[in-house]
């Protein structure tokens, strides 16, 4: 995945709380292979009318937010299903950071695996960012863990050190974990000995 250090981009505000992953990417599209891209499916049912026409009221379709790379959302963004396709859709559309007062836990972790930075800020700060003029630029600096924006907006955010590192370096954590293979093997030997019943299989099998 692509490393993320600092990004200055147009921020797109999304006002609805509890924006679940079913709305970010409806379940009927989830069989599509990753390589086919998911950007066109992002927020599908909010973005398009059933006949496929763009819904002019939906913020993603408004010209002043064209090229937005930072999403400023409401509380509990990405709640619900574990589908990583929700992050694929955001990523493939062009979003590289999401700012919200809170996130669904699984969605948050999925973001870190795809190079999309999840930023938690207090509700009032996020509300101020959502209220910024259309087309306003926001900067997310992952190295400094800061968000800056219009009218002198400045805030710092927390992120777990290993997730920050993974995003900064764009690392594949499977390779990283396999570096601990000996420790893992020793652990498994002890675990298998302590919990030997986990090998139980049906008598007929």
């Amino acid at each position: 995945m692509e490393p993320f250090k600092r990004l200055e981009a147009i921020a797109l505000p999304l006002d609805l709380p509890n924006m679940d992953t079913d709305q970010i990417i409806p379940a009927r599209f989830l069989w599509r292979p990753r390589a086919a891209g998911y950007g066109d499916l992002l927020f599908n049912d909010l973005r398009y009318a059933p006949d496929g026409a763009a819904s002019p009221d939906f913020v993603l379709n408004q010209p002043s937010y064209a090229g937005a790379k930072i999403l400023v959302a409401e509380k509990n963004f990405g709640c619900g299903s574990s589908r990583e396709q929700a992050v694929w859709a955001l990523h493939d559309y062009g979003f590289r950071a999401v700012i919200a007062p809170s996130f669904g836990d699984i969605f948050y972790n999925n973001c870190c695996k795809q190079g999309v930075v999840p930023v938690v800020l207090p509700e009032a700060a996020v509300a101020a960012l959502r209220a910024a003029a259309p087309g306003a630029l926001i900067t997310v600096d992952l190295e400094r863990q800061t968000v800056t924006g219009p009218d002198g907006f400045h805030a710092t955010f927390e992120i777990a050190a290993y997730q920050r590192r993974q995003l900064l370096d764009g690392l594949d954590d499977v390779a990283l974990t396999l570096a601990f293979i000996e420790t893992m093997a020793a652990f498994e030997t002890e675990y298998d000995r302590a919990l030997p019943w986990l090998t139980a299989r049906p008598a007929s099998a």
Binding site: A27, E74, G80, N110, R165, V174, L178, M184
Partner: protein, 470 residues
């Protein structure tokens, strides 16, 4: 495992599975059981792209559920080649990678969160993960079970481990006992209504108290299942004699000396006296009533005797806007009595409510009566289906004019094509009333199996307690 410091159930399992902890707080957690399903294709592909094989196929179990057709057991009945390929991917991966999978032709096939416990694959004291948010279900047996994304699934396949930061802990104590006609579904909806859809974010919940320990394992599965709907990644109940009696004799449960050895580990798991939780919540069991959701989040649950709330009375502007959006989508007016809401369709099924006790509860309501609206009953597994048929429940549902289907996720998520029409109002025993969840523009109300069955007969929501008396 001995420690002077009192530990919670969660902490004991966390410690037992910690391979290493880095200075930055990241913990590499071993995975006791890895569950996969027919939505796992991307992770299998990712593993193959890296040239890796599963580290522990012996600890990996799968089934076809999300895309499983419920009107046929034939793969060929799936018209869409893309969806058919998802089920094929599971079967092919199981074959080539060497893990156990229960496919469409296997009577043990079913919803992964139903068959894990049913087969005894789910056991106390294990870290259990699955690429599905409702993995929290398995916590009912005293496991630490949580959902993960596709990248994490690939990571677990490759390493049988996962990087995590330690979540906070929450204990939800339910005092007293649930009233007659009130179920675990009503209880979890009441809990979510109380703490909110993000109330458990970053937490692992332990459910405790007399109203919890009195629950059957199947009821505990319903309870823990919807922990994710309160934002928590995991919910759990301490293993007890009810748990052990449930597990004994299940196909993948230990036997003989191994059973005794397992039992010794399991008996040490319940939270120690004095264990500290970051957050404590208490509910009075007697006060819980049958619940119905009215909005687009499970936190919008109200008692059956309640009314649709009025956004005008909501002082917070953002919250008011969200309520107006939900009422518009749901086609509901403020002040409407819940019992005045007409229902178009009923779905009884899902990993929340598709086990034999759920089907018995629904059948008890509809026995000898006629449904006024279309209703489908989708058992959680082939074995639940067989059990229900042995008890004659299929004939009860069919006699009431309801459909009796094959096992799968079905209308909970609609990925197999089982959906409601636009603007159709569905009384559903599933777990999510999100916009579009049961089909584009479909309107979902979450209820217990008995409440869904009663709505099928009445054509509108009705208090199942009053209904029984009639």
């Amino acid at each position: 495992m001995t420690s002077a410091q009192p530990l919670s159930l969660f902490e004991k399992i966390w410690r037992r599975h910690t391979i290493l902890e880095r200075e930055d707080g990241a913990v590499l957690l071993h995975v006791g059981r890895h569950l996969v399903h027919d939505g796992t294709a991307a992770a299998f592909r990712s593993l193959a792209d890296r040239g890796l094989k599963p580290r522990r196929p012996d600890r990996t179990f799968g089934t076809a559920d999300h895309y499983a057709p419920t009107t046929s057991r034939e793969l060929a009945s799936i018209a869409d080649p893309g969806k058919r390929a998802m089920i094929e991917s599971l079967a092919t991966s199981a074959e080539t990678l060497g893990f156990t999978a229960f496919g469409l032709g296997d009577k043990r096939q079913g919803i992964i969160h139903v068959i894990g416990p049913e087969q005894g694959i789910t056991q106390p004291g294990l870290v259990i993960v699955c690429g599905d948010s409702h993995t929290a279900t398995h916590g009912a047996l005293g496991a630490l079970a949580f959902g993960i994304g596709s990248s994490e699934v690939a990571h677990v396949l490759a390493t049988q481990a996962l990087w995590q930061t330690k979540p906070r802990s929450m204990r939800i104590t339910v005092t007293g006992a649930l009233a007659p006609g009130v179920t675990a579904k009503d209880l979890i909806l009441a809990i979510i209504a109380k703490i909110g859809a993000a109330g458990g974010t970053g937490h692992v919940i332990e459910y405790a108290g007399p109203a919890i320990t009195a629950l059957s394992i199947e009821a505990r599965l319903t309870l823990c299942n919807m922990s994710i709907e309160a934002g928590a990644r995991a919910g759990m109940v301490a293993p007890d004699e009810t748990t052990f009696a449930y597990l004994r004799g299940r196909p993948y449960a230990p036997t003989g000396d191994a059973w005794e050895q397992a039992l010794a580990y399991w008996r040490g798991l319940p939270s120690d006296e004095g264990a500290v939780f970051d957050t404590e919540v208490t509910l009075e069991g007697e006060k819980i009533e049958p619940m119905v959701t009215w909005g687009l989040s499970p936190e919008t649950a109200v008692p059956i005797g309640g009314r649709i709330p009025d956004p005008a009375a909501e002082p917070d502007e953002d919250r008011r806007a969200a309520m107006l959006h939900a009422l518009d989508y749901m086609g509901l007016a403020p002040g409407t009595a819940i019992t005045d809401i007409a229902v178009d369709r009923v779905f009884i099924g899902s990993c929340t409510n598709s086990r034999i006790e759920d089907l018995r509860a629904a059948a008890a309501i509809v026995a000898g009566k006629q449904a006024k609206i279309p209703a489908i009953v989708v058992p959680g597994s082939g074995l639940v289906k067989a059990q229900a048929e042995a008890e004659g429940l299929d004939q009860v549902f069919l006699g009431a004019g309801m459909e009796w289907r094959h096992a799968g996720c079905s209308m909970c998520v609609g990925m197999n094509g089982d959906i409601a029409a636009p603007r159709e109002r569905c009384a559903s025993t599933s777990n999510r009333n999100f916009a579009g969840r049961q089909g584009r523009l479909a309107r979902t109300h979450l209820v217990s199996p008995a409440m869904a069955a009663a709505a099928a007969l009445a054509g509108h929501f009705i208090d199942v307690r009053a209904f029984k008396d009639n």
